[in-house]
């Protein structure tokens, strides 16, 4: 099974004075859902772009099953914050797009795409146009599209950031169900603390200037949801609240110290 490794990664944009990420090391394997949480400027998006292969690190090594990452590839599926779907195709063709690029015959790829749409509760939406969908539905299509190409892992760039609170909770639960079934490692970034604590098996807290990991927590709230507990019960559990407040304090105290430095 897939294993992603980041060894002492640093990243710097050309011409920038200071790096955006410094000395990041982490591993991500099957049954893991790693969430990177941090304030804006902490390099979450840069970290995702590095793993996706959209940008190259200035130092360090990223490998997937021992093979160095050298650019974007179908091995690492990405779900974007804005849907990034193709409006000139219908829902089914969007989900089948990765398979079409791989040269798979129409019947076969559409059968696979139908399965994926069913997996994200969008059966019956095959012929809809992208602009007829709601924000949550678009994100489901984005997820189905990434899964249909059968990547070895999933990268999610604030996938629920643009959704309303109600849809966001539904999507979190859907993600846990899909993740449980597919068993693919997931790397997700967010700035929503409750979402991070609820979803992750591994939670890394990032702090800015330059982006680095300040804490790595192992959590099991998502697994409890998969085991059948209700999402609301988990989120109102005192241990959940305690973890949430701890994380909040960590992120907040970093911010305060930055403010004091500036003053």
């Amino acid at each position: 099974m897939a294993l992603l490794q980041l060894e002492r990664i640093s990243a710097q944009y050309p011409g920038a004075a200071s790096p955006v990420l410094s000395d990041i090391s982490l591993t991500l394997g099957p049954q893991q859902l790693l969430v990177a949480l941090g304030p804006s400027g902490s390099g979450k998006t840069s970290l995702l772009n590095l793993i996706a292969g959209f940008v190259a690190p200035s130092a360090g090594r990223i490998t997937l099953d021992g093979v160095p990452v050298s650019g974007p590839s179908a091995e690492r599926g990405v779900v974007f914050q804005d849907d990034a779907l193709l409006p000139w195709q219908d829902v089914l063709a969007n989900v089948a797009f990765g398979l079409e690029l791989a040269g798979i015959a129409r019947e076969k790829r559409e059968a696979k795409a139908r399965d994926m749409l069913a997996l994200v509760d969008l059966a019956g939406f095959e012929k809809r146009r992208i602009w007829e969908l709601s924000g949550g539905q678009k994100q489901r299509v984005g997820l189905a599209r990434a899964l249909a190409a059968d990547p070895r892992m999933l990268l999610m760039d604030e996938p629920f950031g643009a959704l309303d609170a109600f849809t966001r909770e539904q999507m979190q639960e859907l993600l846990l169900q899909v993740w449980q079934r597919s068993a693919k490692p997931v790397f997700l970034i967010t700035h929503d603390i409750e979402e991070a604590v609820f979803l992750s098996t591994d939670l890394i807290l990032l702090a800015p200037n330059p982006g680095h990991i300040v804490e790595h927590l192992k959590l099991d709230f998502g697994q409890r949801y998969s085991a059948g507990e209700s999402a609301r019960a988990i989120k109102s559990d005192p241990r959940f609240i305690e973890t949430r407040e701890h994380v909040l304090a960590r992120v907040f105290s970093r911010r305060q110290s930055v403010r004091e430095q500036r003053a």
Partner: protein, 281 residues
């Protein structure tokens, strides 16, 4: 009417229509107002000529123009029927458009996509584009003679620039998230162009074709006024020399009708090919 005016969104207009419909019985749709304007103009033309306020030599009555139209369609003027003149003009612009689309879209994609192609083509296009085509027509005639080829080349050049520039703009403004999404689904460089860049740029390309056809049509007619032995422009020009005013008026009307039809046809094509354009996606 303005040739490049974008169609008003029907959805936002509709509620206002129905709201105003009920209290006032005097409500007229924009289309009706346009039709009435046209009718008043035609009526004025008829009245002026029927009362003989103007000599038929300067403004022939509508009936005479219609009669001439029938004559032109059946017997012809200057060795060719109206259809043959129209056909000659349409063939020229059709050929020019065909080759312009064939070359300007790939070059526009190259300009928008590739730094070196931009360096080569951008200054060339920006240099010749502002020059009125009729200013370099004499040079084309010296180089290529007065045959069909030089006229098609002239119109081709006039159409090429707007399409290439619009394509390049469309390519440059492709949503980078869509490109990255396709890349992380395994798209190669060519697949990116075929599946993402080209469809993304299609609304801009079609706008370029619309503008190009407008410019091309006016260039064509002007070129035919100067150097041709057939075509609508030639028909108008030679009729003017013999003061056959009804043919002049008829020619101008046909030229305007064709321009209008081209514009409407392309708008319909745009609605059919890029229904997502302007949608909130």
């Amino acid at each position: 009417m303005s040739l490049y005016q974008s169609p008003e969104p029907a959805l936002t207009r509709a509620p206002a229509n129905t709201a105003r419909h009920q209290p006032s019985s005097f409500y007229l749709s924009t289309r009706t107002i346009s039709a009435l304007t046209l009718a008043v103009l035609l009526g004025g033309w008829w009245v002026i000529t029927a009362l003989e306020w103007v000599e038929p030599l300067f403004l022939p009555p509508p009936a005479a123009v219609l009669e001439k139209a029938w004559l032109l369609m059946t017997k012809g003027y200057m060795d060719s029927t109206l259809w043959q003149h129209l056909g000659a003009s349409l063939q020229r612009i059709g050929l020019a458009l065909f080759f312009a689309v064939l070359t300007a879209i790939p070059i526009g994609i190259a300009i928008g996509h590739n730094r070196i192609a931009r360096g080569i083509f951008d200054p060339l296009i920006e240099f010749y584009r502002p020059v009125p085509p009729l200013a370099y027509l004499p040079l084309i005639v010296i180089w290529c003679g007065i045959g069909e080829f030089s006229k098609v080349l002239l119109i081709y050049l006039a159409i090429f620039a707007p399409i290439a520039i619009a394509t390049a703009t469309g390519v440059r403004t492709v949503d980078s998230a869509k490109l990255r999404a396709a890349q992380s689904l395994g798209a190669t460089r060519w697949q990116l162009i075929r599946y993402v860049i080209l469809p993304s740029a299609l609304p801009d390309i079609l706008t370029g074709v619309r503008i190009g056809l407008g410019v091309g049509w006016s260039t064509l007619v002007a070129a035919e006024l100067i150097a041709a032995t057939s075509g609508l422009g030639f028909m108008v020009q030679s009729a003017a020399q013999f003061l056959v005013t009804d043919v002049v008026v008829l020619g101008i009307l046909v030229i305007a009708l064709i321009a209008f039809a081209l514009e409407m046809g392309l708008r319909a094509l745009q609605r059919k090919l890029v229904p997502w354009h302007g949608q909130n996606h």
